[in-house]
Subunit: 196 residues, 4 copies
């Protein structure tokens, strides 16, 4: 009897995710508790513990649910334009959802303190975005704009490295200028291999 028992309540699941993200954005991830999320969602604590391992997993799920409206991936025919567009869309998504940057910081923080959650964050958040950026390079390679993809990982690390560094350390804004500069630099590095 595989489907026995009362089925999981979709209503409850949504209430919890909405409450979690709302509280994390307004009061700060570190300052909220499972009990608060449960109370805000009108749910019992056990209902949260039944389906999520910890506060971090709830908020990550809420973040993914919220980010369903995916960042648009440009396809302009020019690698430099594609990178600039992708980065700017990514940066801009932070701005459009206030408080979300602080939540992202907290997710990365939590990943440092909990190795299992780090795995979840990488698989569910980090890697999908890496894959998207990589596709811009491979497409450009198919067009002949890029000769050699052996340094692909480093290019991606540079883009996301700077992105996360500025999110985490507050050394500068995620603005259009940064997107353009990084696009110049990465397109140049990728294109350099073509002549070889």
């Amino acid at each position: 009897m595989p489907n026995a028992g009362r089925p999981r309540s979709e209503q409850s699941r949504c209430n919890i995710l909405e409450a979690a993200l709302r509280l994390a954005r307004t009061r700060g991830y570190a300052r909220i508790t499972i009990e608060e999320i449960a109370a805000e969602a009108g749910a019992g604590k056990q209902t949260i513990y039944r389906w999520w391992r910890s506060k971090a997993y709830v908020v990550l799920d809420a973040l993914k649910e919220n980010a369903r409206v995916e960042i648009e991936v440009p396809d302009t025919g020019s690698l430099r334009q594609d990178i600039a567009g992708f980065l700017w869309n990514t940066f801009d998504a932070q701005r459009r959802r206030p408080g979300i940057t602080r939540v992202l910081q907290s997710m990365m923080a939590e990943a440092q303190l909990d190795a299992e959650f780090a795995e979840s964050l990488r698989n569910g958040f980090i890697e999908p975005r890496r894959k998207t950026l990589k596709s811009l390079f491979t497409r450009a390679c198919a067009r002949g704009e890029v000769g050699d993809l052996s340094d692909l990982n480093i290019w991606v690390d540079i883009a996301f490295g700077v992105l996360w560094y500025r999110i985490l350390v507050d050394v500068g804004p995620l603005d259009k200028a940064l997107a353009e500069k990084l696009a110049d630099l990465l397109a140049a590095a990728a294109g350099a291999g073509r002549s070889a």
Copy 2:
């Protein structure tokens, strides 16, 4: 009576810092507590709270004490060689002190959850290293290797962005190949401005 009373015990201070770093490296920063550090150091909790704001400040202090032996800054006359050398020295310092990478991860994590500590980490740890790397570029500029320093911050963000990204997300090793590639790329980017 400015200096009345029993003076601070240097013995106690050292015991606490040693205990904190030892426990953080072996059991993991997130799993240790102030009470545990006090017990391990044979100190009272109050003695820790008297001199440090929280667990994070204790461990950061311990880390600084431990990292007194500064990373050597190369001066080869070539920007690319200088960058490659500096990066490799930095990467290698992680390898030479096992467990320290995990502690660094935790420091960055804590900085996300506590804004005041973030300030301390930036001033006491992040910025000094940024300043060192910047000096390589300004020196090269003085030599005429670099024409324009207006993108200096982005170059530094790229170097440290990739460094921290690989520390925090585990997408690739901090090896000699990475140091060389980044040096190539940054030297090229910096040198490109010269002819313009």
Copy 3:
């Protein structure tokens, strides 16, 4: 349509009562839960809640089911012999069903914490046994062995008071000597009124 729908499952009822009594005897009434009884009986919790108010009522029912074999009431023609026989039969019933004393203790305990259950216990357990003992005295009165029944309640309180006191407080065994002594004492007290 009074008898529509699926009728109550006798199988389920028996499974639950058996499971309840088995668990109460082996693991101790206080340590078992409704959920455990349901699981042990292969029943759903709702099936228990549909037919019983609480764990105490289930166990009391199980106890009554189990105690169908009633205590034999002697009729020897002598009040003293009747009392001694009745008490000994009562004491011996405890011995014949190991673990049942602990369950009885728990029933009395539960009655202190739940007034409604106390009522059930008195009506279904305490009073029937009081009535039986009283009948010995009234029969003796009819024979002329007892003159005055005005202290009847006190005599019964003495017999059951000592019985329960030794069950609940563990100050002495429920043995034949006790039955004989109590019979002596009560017969003497009851007989004393005759000459007056």
Copy 4:
């Protein structure tokens, strides 16, 4: 260093005991929780758990503290008068402290559900009162009113058996008539051995 650390707070201890007894008397032992006692006493839960095993031990301690004003033990020179006086004083103590009977019921209930607590209740509450009653009989024996003390335990079981039975089962009041009847009966039983 045997006396290191902050000493136990007498204030806190008293607050907790007072709160526990007040709540048990007014709201009923079964309906109060450790959390409620802590809140009412302005104490932390840990402070309760540090010094008492469970709610039952707290209330028992409170009961003992409250019962410091001991029941007066009569010494009239007559065994019957002594017993009647002692029983009436004991019964009357219930009446003078409203709600205390219900607390006593709960203590006995708890003792059935927790063997370790049963031990504490017997040693700290039951046995001292048995000893007092026994002393009346031994004194009478010294006076020659009682010949043989071999049935002493049964006499005491009868007195306290009836007392507890009426406390626990609500089959009759603890009034002066009961005290007198029991005194008659016990004095007669004890005196009967004298002539032998």
